[in-house]
């Protein structure tokens, strides 16, 4: 097998497939891509099965040397992609040759990008997934982020197809966005006034924003209760600890916890939030579970019916 040699790992580059499911009962969290839409596009543009292993590059700074012929694509945040020093289009599959140098520079807009290779990176599964969760030391290479000198195996099929996503379908990663939240869990412990405050205020992404959760800063929201008997936490759950500052829990969240929760952000919007850098401003918008369900199903249909352009 051949693959890619990591020359510079970047600030935080993680091996990720779609995530680890069905293991919450032994305390394992989901992991997987923070921006699942960009992840799915990366795999689709190099004609991979949807659960193929990619690299999630946070902020940028990755340099690799190819030791194989393959097709690669970079989707997600605006991290300039260079192949042998020449800037190339993102959301666009590129044929590369053994010996080529691939550089992903620091992002100018957005925080996460996904690099996929035709056939997917070949990484041993741990609990049915290659997703890296550093907090648990599970997945990827011994549960760690990518290191200098790591070797990413791959086995690119011959005659693999490549695609580009037309500009009008490429997401943008602007700041100052409204994110949709379904009220739930302990929402009854929040008075109407507290809920109005939450849904009408602006919050700032703090620098304590990582794959486990995004801590926000803004007007304090206070539930009528301090804590609860520890219970399961779903993706996107918004926990309000004693200081009244919301934490949106993401892919690497702990599976159970005892802080009151006002509800949960929908996954389409946690993906947008995870593209924001500290200092970004957001607000919340209430949405019903019916609307959230419809949006999810429509997004699935939209993804499947958006035809990327074949290259060659």
């Amino acid at each position: 097998m051949s693959g890619f040699k990591v020359i510079q790992p970047g600030l935080l580059t993680l091996i990720q497939d779609a995530g680890r499911f069905g293991h919450h009962r032994i305390g394992l969290t989901t992991g997987g891509p923070l921006d699942s839409l960009a992840f799915k596009w990366a795999n689709r543009l190099v004609d991979n099965p949807m659960n193929s292993t990619t690299l999630e590059i946070s902020f940028g700074g990755l340099v690799m040397q190819a030791e194989t012929d393959a097709q690669i694509v970079l989707a997600g945040a605006e991290m300039p992609l260079k192949i042998n020093g020449i800037e190339q289009d993102r959301w666009h599959a590129h044929k590369i040759k053994a010996g080529d140098k691939i550089e992903v520079s620091f992002s100018t807009q957005g925080a996460r990008a996904y690099l996929a290779v035709s056939g997917g990176f070949q990484v041993e599964h741990s609990f049915s997934s290659s997703a890296t969760v550093t907090r648990e030391g599970i997945g990827g290479f011994t549960g760690e982020k990518l290191q200098q000198g790591d070797y990413l195996h791959c086995n690119p099929p011959v005659d693999h197809r490549g695609f580009r996503l037309p500009d009008e379908h490429r997401p943008d990663y602007f700041d100052d966005i409204s994110l949709r939240v379904i009220t739930g869990y302990q929402q009854q412990a929040f008075s109407d006034y507290q809920k109005r405050l939450f849904f009408s205020s602006e919050y700032k992404v703090t620098d304590r924003a990582d794959r486990m959760g995004y801590r926000l800063e803004g007007p304090e929201v206070k539930p009528a209760i301090d804590g609860i008997l520890s219970e399961g936490i779903c993706h996107g759950a918004i926990q309000i600890p004693a200081d009244g500052q919301p934490i949106v829990l993401l892919n690497d969240r702990q599976t159970i916890g005892g802080y009151p929760k006002i509800g949960s952000m929908i996954a389409m919007d946690t993906a947008r939030m995870a593209q924001l850098l500290p200092g970004s401003r957001i607000s919340f918008e209430e949405i019903s579970i019916d609307d959230a369900h419809n949006l999810h199903c429509l997004a699935h249909v939209r993804f499947n019916n958006t035809e990327p352009e074949a290259i060659d």
Binding site: F21, G22, H23, H24, R25, I26, G27, L28, T30, S126, F127, E136, G137, I138, I182, T183, G184, Y185, L229, S230, E231, G232, I233, C234, H235, G236, A237, Q254, T255, I256, G257, G263, S264, I266, A267, I289, A292, H293, H296, C297, H300
Partner: protein
Amino acid sequence: MISMADKSIRIEVAGENALIIYFGEKTDPSVSARVQQAVTILETELNGKLIDMVPSYASLLVIYDQLATDHLEVRSTIRKVLNQLSDAVNAEGNLVILPAYYSSESGPDLDALAQRAGLSADEVIKLHSEMEYRVYAIGFAPGFAYLGEVDERIAAPRLSTPRMKVPRGAIAIADRQTAVYPAISPGGWNLIGLCPTRMFDPEAKPTMPVQVGDRIKFNPISRDEFFSLGGELGEIK
């Protein structure tokens, strides 16, 4: 039989693809047994539509695939299942014996805990190892099992300053909960001993010796037995 007319059971929305069932408001073996029964039945009833479930003390989080089902159908399935649950605590889990090397060497908080409780260290050990515990929840870290409840006399609040490093196998108490740390981690629980049994081993099958609903008893062992069972003292700071 219990029924949904039982006001203590509620189904709430948790997220866009998750409902949470509340079976009660406090730690209680019969509530915990119902949670376990519901896990088993829902696994079959929602086969092919489930993404994951998180059982805890008195609740069950049910995460489903929105492309295969929706909250209306899942809620209706849950209602049906709740009506089938029996009230009797017949869902007795396995009894798992965990060896425990209690000492001030392996459990640096043992003496302070005894002193606060007005007991001798031996009395603390006796109270901790005589009780049969139930696994109420697994979380915090892979393999971390919340066991309850310890005798009131040896309940102890968390340390005011959590430790940076608690060794793997540390047997600990926080309030009326007890646990064995599955891996080296930071931690604020009171350490009273060490268990040589691995609570989480990704290479082993099963990966954990216990699951939610199981019954646990600690069996006091000597220092020599601890080492012969493969125990390691580990670093505490």
